[in-house]
Amino acid sequence: MAENAERSEETLYKPSPKSIEREKQAMEEEPIEDLSSLLLPNLNDLPQNPPTAVEFNFSRYFLPDFTKPGHDQYIYRHANGLCVIGLAQAHVALKEEGGVTAVDFNVGKSDRSELKVTGKRKRNAQHFESNSALCKVCTNDNFYIVRCCVKGSLLEVNDRLIKQPGLLNSSADREGYVAIIMPKQGDWLKIKDSLLSYEDYVKLRGLL
């Protein structure tokens, strides 16, 4: 199990030095009574579009054409080492007429949605290779295999996709994630350099 360096579990947006000063002053004057003034933010610190939880807490990596052309996938890696796997924006399945209609986790030798991982030590987690199949994504005319992308233990699959395959059409980058994998530090480092950053992926596919 990867005992990774935990840089931060999830730190939030940090206020500017000016507002820290202001907060301090407010506290010195009336520490208890002015709880409400402590809580209100300084307008100058509020960005129009704050970073999303995914942007803030994960490093986003992309694998274009993974094992097959057009099979673009993403890996969101958390500081604690866990990797969220999913379909990237330009995956062919998402471009089809009608989009994704069904998701089936019964691929390879087992039904991935049947796994039961328990305990802190994540016993019973199955080990997969980077090209092991996670699930089958079906459209009106085709189906596509989604793969692990990184070698590691499978902790969880997003079984909501079974009842709501439409999540892949509406938010493949968030609620439509496919699985969570826990790779060993060594296995992650092996593939890290071959991955694209968000900016590079966007450029490559001509998005935005």
């Binding site: 999830e10 506290m27 933010p41 970073p51 958390h78 866990l82 328990t118 802190k120 969880e156 609620e175």
Partner: protein, 524 residues
């Protein structure tokens, strides 16, 4: 220190004691076997302390019993009693700490002096003390061997049949009887018999020579070989706590016949007296209160990864170190009722906490408590604050833990949504009371916590608009203990549902979180 002055007291005391003592031929026998005068007194059930502190020696005792002459003051000549192994003859005890020189200690007062010097040297402030004595099991075996010997030899005699051996006082009790009064004198505080004082003086006696022999003699052949090996390697009997307990158990179970075949009856003489280690320690001191955390860069407990510290400092260190310093303790442990992330402030009522100080040299009074409070609350950087600081008892720990899962917590979160907030949204959220949500273990802690789905309750929510914005608002909410607030706002990729985003039908992000109230009756 002996002085000729109290000779009269001793004479009277001994005169009274004579009634309890066995006939002189028995005393001669005991003395020649190697039993010390004090052991003879205690086996006879003599409770008068003056008898024990009188420096009467063997020949004087004989002459006193047989001729009732005046007693001269001489130190005892039996060293290394075969029963108590020198424990009751303070002139024989060699405190390990005194180093190489074997100083002659001519009375129990010198031992008491040594102990009280140690207590004062450490600068302990005490109101009372308890004396704990730990003796090697071989002394119990010796006692038993002596009793069996006396029984075999004298059971037909009248004096034996009457009361002897039913009245005897243990070595431990005798030592305490003798020592406590002197200690009370030197330390100028009361002794508390039943170990209920927070300040403990522990006397650990050990006798490696006979203890090793005892271990090898005990029935558990293969076990004793292991222990023998262990004690040979270390020499001291300090590592023999487990073997001690089992030795006592085995001794209890052995039948007299069996015992006599294994052990020397009466007990054999020994070359060296016991070794003594004196230690004193206070039971943990507890200081409790509530803390506030004003900084978003201070973790609750010390957080270091790969030699690098996370955050500026920790609540634990700021409070714990200040408490420890003023209590003059050796170390501290910090406990709290729950915790918050490094970037989450703890405001409002504050969070209950407990600091456990080990071996504090002083027990803080309200002045010292105020000192601690001031020190923490008036540092240059106001990172942490404390309130309601006070000295509490050990039960505070349980009180804090009790019902922790039931306690409600209140928060204020700065939320952004992907479209402007409207009136319906506000009504929507504020109308939800005691709403149940389901949270899969958040991804950010999934690496170290079990993958479970936990059901939590959001008791109520209130919206406070932020002037000058349409997509930001302050969400005040009251939830069940153990709820992950950040995940409730952004949904954790749909693994927490419902979430603010799912309820409002848009994307929601959390920018800031503050804990505004931890509802707990205690520590208020």
């Amino acid at each position: 220190m002996t002085s000729p002055g109290p000779a009269i007291e001793w004479q009277t005391a001994l005169g009274n004691a004579k009634l309890c003592l066995p006939p002189s031929h028995v005393i001669r026998d005991l003395l020649s076997t190697g039993v010390c005068v004090r052991c003879i007194f205690r086996l006879s059930g003599i409770h008068d302390r003056d008898c024990y502190i009188s420096p009467i020696n063997e020949s004087e005792l004989i002459s006193f019993l047989e001729e009732q002459n005046e007693i001269e003051c001489n130190s005892t000549t039996i060293t290394n009693c075969c029963v108590c192994l020198g424990v009751l003859c303070p002139s024989c005890v060699v405190p390990e700490k005194s180093g190489a020189d074997l100083r002659e200690r001519s009375s129990v007062n010198e031992l008491a002096l040594l102990i009280s010097d140690m207590v004062k040297g450490e600068q302990y402030q005490i109101d009372e003390f308890s004396l704990e004595v730990s003796l090697p099991p071989v002394i119990t075996a010796n006692e038993r061997a002596l009793r069996l010997y006396l029984k075999q030899k004298y059971e037909k005699e009248q004096w034996f049949k009457d009361t002897f051996l039913r009245v005897h006082i243990s070595v431990k009790d005798t030592l305490k009887l003798v020592l406590n009064a002197s200690l009370e004198n030197y330390l100028a505080v009361q002794n508390v018999e039943t170990l209920s004082s927070s300040f403990r003086i522990r006397l650990t006696y050990s006798h490696s020579e006979t203890s090793q022999k005892l271990q090898s003699m005990l029935p558990n052949g293969h076990d004793s070989k292991k222990r023998e090996k262990g004690s040979r390697e270390n020499g001291s009997s300090k590592n023999c706590n487990e073997p001690d307990a089992s030795a006592y158990r085995v001794l209890e179970l052995i039948e007299d016949q069996n015992f006599c075949s294994q052990f020397q009856v009466p007990p054999g003489k020994v070359d060296k007296p016991c070794q003594l280690v004196v230690a004193c320690c206070r039971t943990p001191t507890y200081i409790g209160g509530r803390y506030l955390k004003y900084s978003r860069n201070v973790s609750q407990s010390r957080w270091i990864i790969d030699d690098e510290r996370m955050g500026e400092t920790s609540v634990e260190e700021i409070i714990g170190e200040n408490v420890r310093q003023i209590c003059q303790g050796d170390g501290y442990k910090f406990h709290s009722a729950g915790r918050e992330d490094i970037d989450v402030r703890m405001l409002g009522s504050g969070r209950p906490f407990l600091v456990e100080v080990s071996n504090s040299r002083i027990v803080p009074s309200s002045t010292e408590i105020e000192q601690i409070s001031d020190k923490i609350n008036h540092t240059d950087k106001q990172l942490v604050g404390v309130k309601n600081l006070k000295l509490v008892g050990a039960e505070a720990w349980d009180l804090m833990r009790e019902g922790e899962a039931e306690k409600q917590k209140q928060y204020a979160a700065l939320v952004w949504i992907s479209r402007p907030l409207n009136v319906d949204d506000v009504c929507n959220l504020t109308s939800l009371k005691d709403m149940e949500i389901s949270q899969k273990t958040p991804i950010r802690v999934l690496h170290r916590r079990s993958p479970l789905e936990r059901s939590k309750v959001i008791h109520w929510m209130k919206i406070e608009k932020v002037e000058g914005t349409t997509q930001y608002f302050l969400l005040h909410l009251c939830t069940q203990a153990g709820t992950y607030i950040k995940e409730f706002v952004h949904g954790d990729l749909g693994r927490t549902h419902p979430s603010i985003g799912s309820i409002l039908g848009c994307r929601a992000e959390i920018l800031q979180l503050d804990v505004t109230d931890v509802k707990m009756d205690y520590f208020d």
